[in-house]
Amino acid sequence: MNAFIEFLTLDNLTYMLFGLVWSVIYGVIVVLVGTILGIIGAALKISKHKVLQSIGGLYTTVFIGTPMMLQILFFAVALPQALSFTGMRFEPTTLGVVAMCLNAGAYQTELIRSGILGVDKGQWEATETLGLSYFQAMRYVILPQAFKRIIPPLISEFMTLIKDSSLLYNIGAIELTASASVLGSRSAGIMIPYLDAGIMYIVIYLILSRVEKMAERRLAVSD
């Protein structure tokens, strides 16, 4: 216990918080980009054109069927190596985040797709009889209803991605787990920094759980 309190110097705390902030930033970027990719992916998968459907299917099969760690390594390490002949320099962290975005996009595709399919067929028919185009129907009627359904899962997805950003440690990114590891290697033991990181992740989790419950209650009002 004493060692734990000794660890919490201003320097250490700042360093850990800096890592935490980056973890959250990665979470935000990935969940936002992932949602955009998810909308596109869902639109592809529910499309009536077989080609578009197949593209969507291929995307989700690849990114849901392989581990995120492998995807990060593929984009951040393997691709630059394969493209080294072009002389282009790549920032591993950026590529790692790209991989995470594609991964999140695949899971979001399935989530958003189920949200869209959960909207009553009558809603589509009403938009048809009113003369709305496919895009207008999606934008004003279908997607808003689909999203209402999937906001709680989306918030928990956000939490998962904050935790998943710890995988970026393996390619040298700055985030909470990396911060803990660095401090652990400097000082007497790695246990305490890891415990501290764990506590910080849990605090974020508890905050987001609360937000999710509040969102669920608010959304239930207009049901």
Binding site: D120, G122, Q123, E125, A126, E128, T129, L130, G131, L132, S133, Q136, Y140, V141, P144, Q145, K148, S222, D223
Partner: protein, 245 residues
């Protein structure tokens, strides 16, 4: 030569081998109030949905104002806009207020300004008697109110004709009258209407023509008075004896 407003020309529609509409033909002129009646499964909903383009018949054609209703043609959406459609289950947009439900299409499809669309919306909310509900969400309305809003929503596009697919079948009995009264008002003002309904009283008093279907075929097509007092076909007589309690 004037075209009929609606011309259904020998259409057949099947679903997975089941023939819902079998070689149906009819013509409807401007100002007519036509009721489609018949037992469940007789094809009346399918028929009205074919007229509106929600279903596409395998054979035969539908003409609106002389123009063929063809999903592949460029003016499909434009022709459909001439018809307002009211669903059995209302299909109001739950994520919008009543006023927003009514102004969405006039603004996005007809290109009206928000103000113009709202003025039109208020006019039709007046017609259906629900002005005070303009800022409510659909989930706060009763079934009868939802259906009247749905009627107003269809009217906001100022269609040339209104199609109703069992408009009162999903309503509690005490709300049916409010909706039928709105429909009667529309009829009195000269709106061309096709109504799929089980409400015999309405058909008898408001319709000027009744089309009786059974097993996907049009069995009888006469003026309303004749149909109820002296139907030609045995099957129509049989049906009426069962439904008029």
């Amino acid at each position: 030569m004037t075209n009929s407003m609606i011309k259904v020309d020998h259409i057949t529609k099947t679903f997975n081998g089941f023939t819902a509409v079998n070689d149906a033909s009819l013509e409807i002129e401007k100002g007519e109030i036509v009721c489609l009646i018949g037992p469940s499964g007789s094809g009346k909903s399918t028929l009205i949905r074919c007229i509106n383009g929600l279903e596409h018949p395998e054979t035969g054609k539908v003409y609106i104002d002389g123009e063929e209703l063809d999903p592949k043609s460029g003016n499909f959406a434009q022709i459909r806009r001439k018809m307002g459609f009211v669903f059995q289950h209302f299909n109001l947009f739950p994520n919008m207020t009543v006023l927003e439900n009514l102004t969405l299409a006039p603004v996005k499809v007809l290109g009206k300004s928000q103000q113009e669309a709202e003025d039109v919306a208020m006019k039709y909310l007046q017609v259906v008697g629900l002005v005070e509900k303009k800022d409510e969400y659909p989930n706060k309305l009763s079934g009868g109110q939802k259906q009247r809003v749905a009627i107003a929503r269809a009217l906001c596009l100022e269609p040339e004709m209104m199609l109703f697919d069992e408009p009162t079948s999903a309503l509690d009995p005490e709300m049916v009258l409010d909706v039928l009264n709105v429909m009667k008002e529309l009829a009195n003002e000269g709106m061309t209407m096709i109504v799929v309904t089980h409400e015999m009283g309405f058909a008898k008093t408001v319709a000027n023509r009744v089309v009786f279907l059974e097993d996907g075929k049009i069995v009888e097509d006469t003026d309303a008075k004749t149909f109820y007092e002296n139907p030609e076909s045995d099957r129509a007589k049989d049906f009426l004896s069962k439904v008029m309690y």
